[in-house]
Symmetry: C2
Subunit: 144 residues, 2 copies
DNA sequence: TTGAAAATATTGAATATTCAAGAATTGAAG
DNA sequence: CTTCAATTCTTGAATATTCAATATTTTCAA
């Protein structure tokens, strides 16, 4: 049974927040070389399959609230990294696509992100990393 | 070696963000019964040892930037959950203390948080939970 | 001892996020 | 068919967060 007087550092929610903050900070630092926030990298990465993705779908995938995504996409459209197309099958929807410029940037960002993953692999270990990923996936699954 | 064309869902940074978002959302939902944001629960919990904690120390412990913490503490002082005392040994510092009202609230919040931990234990399992905690701690350690 | 650098916390302006409401389109029941 | 509810996205106002600058105190070297 969980104890209500346990220090906060023993709560799963806290450990997740702490780890996330730290890893995210590191990633942020790398991506800042291209002046791109982590969320924009996620967006480019999801769109880099070349398909059109609706805003709702994207919001889920990149872990952003709907209005926040809208405004971030506005900026990215200004920067010509992505563009909007109205969905011909359902005109309530907007389909987002990545531009050529977006693709070029995404490649650079991917390699910065991979740098980080490898840095983690080195200091944290192959085994731990894949085990942690497995456990996180299963936690996420069990939360739906 | 990490692959740069791997889907975003395979990146550790993404899995952490996703899991954190989900677990945090659940916790938020419970704490909303007392209309308290997760960060305020963390603050109360850290202060509930009864000692005075400086703002810098607190900011680290509760995973908030310094100015964000200052403003959140302002609100909590208005709500008489905590109070400030100038550190007599180093007058640059401010020591934060929890009030009696804060303690009462903290108890209620703790039990809401424990509810969640137990819910996770049920659906995710004892073994996985403690293994995940262990791995997260060690990831955090290895990142310093 | 003095004066410059470092540490600590807060403030204000600039940005970003969120909540609630709105506009447009679709679905579906009567 | 028509109308009303549901879906999708955006907008605007209210909040919250962040960055850079400031004020205060301490540290420490000259």
């Amino acid at each position: 049974m969980a104890k209500s007087n346990a220090p906060i550092t023993e709560h799963l929610a806290y450990l997740l927040a702490q780890a996330n903050r730290e890893i995210n900070r590191q990633l942020e630092l790398r991506l800042s070389k291209e002046r791109v926030p982590v969320e924009q990298w996620r967006i480019l990465k999801v769109l880099s399959d070349g398909d059109g993705h609706s805003m709702g779908e994207l919001a889920d995938a990149v872990l952003l609230n709907h209005p926040t995504l809208t405004k971030m996409i506005d900026r990215m459209v200004s920067d010509t990294l992505v563009y909007r197309v109205q969905d011909p099958n359902d005109r309530r929807k907007v389909l987002m696509f990545i531009s050529d410029r977006g693709k070029v940037l995404c490649k650079k960002l991917n390699s910065l992100a991979v740098d980080q993953e490898e840095h983690i692999l080195e200091s944290y270990g192959d085994k731990s990393t894949s085990e942690l990923k497995r456990l996180l996936e299963s936690l996420i699954d069990s939360s739906n």
